[in-house]
């Protein structure tokens, strides 16, 4: 009896394996069109070290989806699934590394009630430019005033691993703007709001210090941080912010400033550096960022509404921000003596927000909306790019690219077409090699913000943006009722001790920002 058991078990096991294996794509109807897949990865350019681009069929009636990714050297990788294809992580990375700078062909088949359909293959372009280790972002529901669970999270871009750096379940309050210095995972600025409000700064040695950034000489708490490339300074704005609501408009809410100024914090001397030029009552200054060489401070500036001129029913749709620049001397910590307008968006009845210079100093990317500075609630908001002058004054970055009619600012400024969609594109950041851009977009459903990536070449041309990959993207994004907020690259796992941070937050002692006399 026993001698019969082993073969029987073997047969059963084999049958089980066969049942679990992929179903062969047979008698498939050949479709002339490319497949409609979610997320839309058709024709995208991807970094060599990105996680597998798993996807589903848009049509949820598909019973099975099958994909074969092949290169021109005879290598291939396949996957089949009921909801989504799920490529083997190691095989995926091996295939991508073998095809760096080359392209891959993806053949998709889907099984429906009437059998298999095979679609016209599409191409994935594997860029030779790699992307940084990971992405940090805040996850928060797209609310207005009240917050629920939220936190700062880090995602490894070559896998699907996500971990929390800090969550508001660990203390009473909310986490706000976070910023790394050029992706340096050990230098972080993080705002905490609520009962235990503070700004946390991490040092190279991992220490976390809680600051009170409000001073008698400034409007209020420091927000919107941006590190100086040297790590010595952080540019902040202070904003008196309000919100109002639309009665019947696709943009449901307006968040606007009633006052705002800029200042630079000197980490070494614990002093805020002020300049009357960026602290004018008649101007709203916000979103300060340092240039790649650290010698310029770019920011957005709008003519302020007259006193008592804002509020419900008032002309907040007339607040339009230009892109401006002022010199900054990192040696002395002093500002220049004049402000230069780089993009005169207001003249075109447009408004600039979130300027972000590439770290190689070639370009500056910004968000352009109809008005205001809180572009995430503006469905019309798009990304634009402008070349920056090299140290010798050359602005040839966009040579060969005709500026479109109606270009805002200078002839060289133009929309980052590949990155944009009919819906909102807003916050964005550059990878440390300045070849990839992460951007926040609401194109997925019109409300929940998702991170997308696009490659930007040496001419400032962006490829089609692709959504942050997930193991099962449809399930993941459908079930996550949170927006990805302020995505920022990190070059390695963030060295952030959340226990130490929570101790610092719950301890009411704060180190006060000083002000340079």
């Amino acid at each position: 009896m026993r001698k019969h058991i082993l073969p029987l078990v073997t047969i059963l096991f084999s049958l089980l394996l066969a049942a679990c294996g992929p179903e062969p794509v047979s008698d498939a109807r050949q479709e002339a069109s490319q497949p409609a897949i979610y997320p839309d990865y058709i024709g995208v350019t991807i970094p060599v070290n990105i996680a597998p681009l798993n996807f589903s069929m848009v049509d949820e009636k598909a019973l099975l989806v099958d994909a074969v990714v092949a290169d021109s050297h005879g290598h291939s990788l396949s996957s089949q699934g009921e909801e989504a294809v799920d490529f083997d992580l190691d095989d995926w990375h091996a295939l991508l590394s073998q095809n760096r700078g080359d392209s891959l062909t993806v053949t998709v088949s889907a099984k429906y009630d009437d059998g298999w359909h095979t679609y016209r293959p599409f191409t994935l372009y594997v860029s030779a430019d790699s992307i940084d280790y990971g992405l940090c972002y805040r996850l928060i529901a797209p609310g207005h005033e009240v917050w629920s669970k939220m936190g700062i999270y880090e995602r490894d871009l070559s896998t699907f691993d996500e971990r929390a750096l800090i969550e508001n379940t660990q203390f009473e309050g909310c986490v706000n703007c976070h910023s790394f210095n050029r992706g340096n995972p050990s230098r972080m600025s993080l705002h905490i709001r609520g009962k235990h409000g503070a700004t946390l700064l991490t040092g190279d040695d991992g220490t976390v210090t809680a600051y009170n950034t409000k001073t008698p000489a400034t409007l209020g708490l420091c927000v919107y941080p941006y590190w100086h490339p040297s790590g010595r300074y952080i540019a902040y704005s202070t904003n008196t912010t309000r919100q109002t609501f639309h009665s019947a408009h696709p943009n449901r809410i307006e968040v606007f400033d009633e006052a705002s100024d800029l200042q630079v914090y000197d980490v070494e001397t614990n002093e805020l550096l002020l300049s009357p030029l960026v602290k004018q009552d008649s101007v709203y200054e916000t979103y300060p960022v340092f240039s790649a060489d650290g010698r310029s401070l770019y920011f957005c500036a709008a003519r302020a509404l007259p006193p008592n001129g804002s509020g419900p029913g008032m002309a907040i749709d007339s607040i339009r921000y230009n892109l401006c620049r002022i010199d900054f001397d990192p040696q002395t910590g002093t500002f220049g003596d004049h402000i230069e307008t780089i993009v005169d968006a207001a003249a075109q009845k447009k408004s600039v927000s979130f300027p972000r210079p590439s770290y190689d100093g070639r370009f500056l990317c910004y968000t352009l909306a109809d008005y205001g500075q809180f572009s995430i609630w503006h469905h019309e908001a798009d990304l634009w790019i402008i070349p920056l002058p090299s140290p010798d004054g050359d602005t040839s970055g966009l040579q060969g690219n005709e500026a479109p009619s109606g270009a805002v600012g200078g002839a060289a400024a133009r929309p980052l077409t590949g990155a944009n969609s009919p819906d909102t594109e807003s916050f964005h950041n550059w990878s440390t090699n300045s070849r990839w851009l992460v951007l926040s977009s609401r194109r997925d459903d019109g409300l929940y913000t998702r991170p997308y990536f696009c490659h930007v070449d040496t001419n400032g041309v962006a490829t089609k943006a692709f959504m942050l990959p997930q193991r099962n993207p449809r399930r993941f994004y459908r079930e996550r009722f949170l927006s990805f907020n302020v995505p920022d690259f990190v070059t390695g796992p963030a060295r952030f001790d959340s226990r130490q941070a929570v101790r610092a937050i719950n301890d009411d002692r704060r180190k006060d920002f000083g002000v340079r006399k």
Partner: protein
């Protein structure tokens, strides 16, 4: 005696059932509306992976049935009765030789079980009483009851194991297992950081729960300490009855004194508004006029739905504009009845924002079936079908909202069907047509613009006139009449 004990347990269970079913049903509805139990692997795993997650999951699972108050009351009755029986087992255990396992039975024929029970029988109801008192708090979570139940069960099982190395090693395993099942129930620790979920306020220490749990230790020790005395006690059967009677009286007094019937009435108004029981609301306010903000808000909405608001505004208690369309608070409870009024008025985006914020304000970060449903409806009315689909997809994973979600999904994108829909079609027609900015406070201008967007919106007209009446703005009212009479 044994059957009598079960009869007492049954009586206790019936008392719990009647209390929560008759006197406290809206507390159960309140509990249900602040959670969203999903039949989903990720949801379950996110809960059970934490210490106390199993108890929490079972608590949430049971709470979804609170949508139907009598079912919820029955669940609580069964749980509290089970706690009493398990405690009784602990009472009996110390007098039984561990190896025999005889202590599991409650029997006068056991060596001295009957006399012991006589003295300590009433004590077996104390943890259930403490849990009953715990559940009077609308923010106390059922996971706490499951945690006590698990603890009693595991300790009870353990006491019947033979003494020896096997029992000691089982103890180590039991402690680890219990920690995973129920969390740090015995250690008053910061529930937020440990992930324990016994109370909606993460900073509240649920003392009643700790006390009930403490009985796991106290009962066997007390019984052992009094063993000699109890063994010699005469009239044990009489003492048993008397101890039950004593505890029953104490229980009745404590529950009655600690029950928050005022909150129950307020929750009742919210419940009736949620289910659009306008007639019932008017019957209720005619019996007893509400004197709280939620009650007055709901009363005025019901009057308006019957077209009676303007004529009978001052026949009822009023609270100025706070009783008409109050400013939206930053809590989870008070905005919901106001959101009902916004929704019925056709102020869809205001209702949406109000519900969204209310859900965000749920203290233990849970989501709400009620809020998801209303958000799906408002996005559908606004034509934001992708977002509506997202909420409906989540509701499809629930037990009690699934059918509604399945019925609603085909409407997405079907403009003709929505236009014909008695609720969504009407509310689309009643909404704002022109865009303007508004702030956190409802103004006469907002109501006027709403009314003139569609003069068939009688609800908006009533609210506008009521607004003028409550503020005493005669000029505004006169101008409104002139505007209406203008050809």
């Amino acid at each position: 005696m044994r059957n009598l004990h079960f009869l007492y347990t049954l009586l206790f269970g019936v008392a719990v059932l009647l209390f929560f079913g008759l006197a406290y049903p809206h507390h159960l509805h309140y509990q249900e509306q602040f959670q969203l139990f999903l039949f989903d692997n990720n949801y379950v795993w996110d809960i059970v992976k934490r210490p106390g997650g199993v108890a929490d999951l079972l608590g949430r699972f049971c709470t979804q049935f609170f949508l139907y108050a009598w079912v919820g009351a029955a669940i609580i009755a069964v749980l509290l009765s089970a706690v009493q029986l398990l405690t009784l087992r602990l009472v009996v255990s110390p007098l039984q030789p561990p190896s025999t396992g005889g202590g599991r039975r409650l029997d006068n024929s056991s060596p001295c079980g009957g006399r012991l029970v006589g003295a300590f029988y009433g004590l077996s109801f104390v943890p259930s009483l403490l849990l009953w008192l715990f559940l009077l708090d609308e923010n106390a979570l059922l996971g706490g009851v499951w945690a006590v139940l698990f603890t009693l069960h595991v300790v009870g099982m353990f006491l019947h194991r033979p003494v020896g190395w096997l029992r000691r090693s089982q103890l180590v395993v039991a402690i680890v297992l219990l920690y995973w099942l129920v969390g740090p129930l015995w250690v008053p620790a910061d529930g937020m950081t440990l992930g324990t979920h016994y109370h909606r306020y993460p900073t509240v220490t649920p003392w009643l729960l700790w006390a009930a749990s403490l009985f796991v230790v106290v009962v066997p020790l007390a019984v052992r300490a009094c063993r000699r005395w109890t063994g010699a006690a005469p009239f044990s059967s009489l003492i048993s009855h008397l101890s039950f009677l004593f505890v029953a009286v104490v229980m009745g007094v404590l529950v009655w004194k600690n029950a928050n019937m005022k909150a129950e009435r307020v929750m009742g108004y919210d419940f009736m508004a949620r289910y659009q029981q306008w007639n019932r609301i008017l019957e209720t306010v005619n019996r007893e006029k509400p004197n709280n903000q939620i009650g007055v808000t709901v009363q005025n909405l019901a009057l308006a739905m019957h077209g009676l608001l303007v004529d009978h505004l001052f026949d009822y208690n009023q609270n100025g504009l706070l009783g008409l369309l109050p400013d939206v608070g930053t809590d989870a409870t008070s905005p919901l009845p106001t959101a009902e009024a916004f929704y019925q008025l056709g102020m869809t985006s205001v209702a949406q924002r109000t519900v969204f914020e209310a859900q965000e304000a749920i203290l233990d970060f849970q989501k709400s079936g009620r809020c998801y449903k209303r958000l799906a409806q408002t996005y559908l009315i606004q034509g934001d079908y992708a977002v509506a689909r997202k909420y409906l997809a989540a509701l499809q994973k629930t037990l009690f909202y699934r059918a509604w979600a399945n019925e609603t999904l085909p409407l997405l994108g079907d403009e003709a069907a929505i236009a014909k829909h008695p609720e969504y079609g009407r509310l689309r027609q009643m909404g704002y047509k022109e865009d303007f900015y508004f702030g956190d406070h409802v103004t006469a201008d907002m109501l006027e613009r709403l009314y003139f967007s569609n003069t068939d919106n009688r609800l908006a007209f009533q609210y506008l006139v009521a607004y003028y009446m409550l503020t005493g703005d005669r000029d505004g009212y006169t101008k409104l009449l002139q505007k209406i009479q203008k050809p």
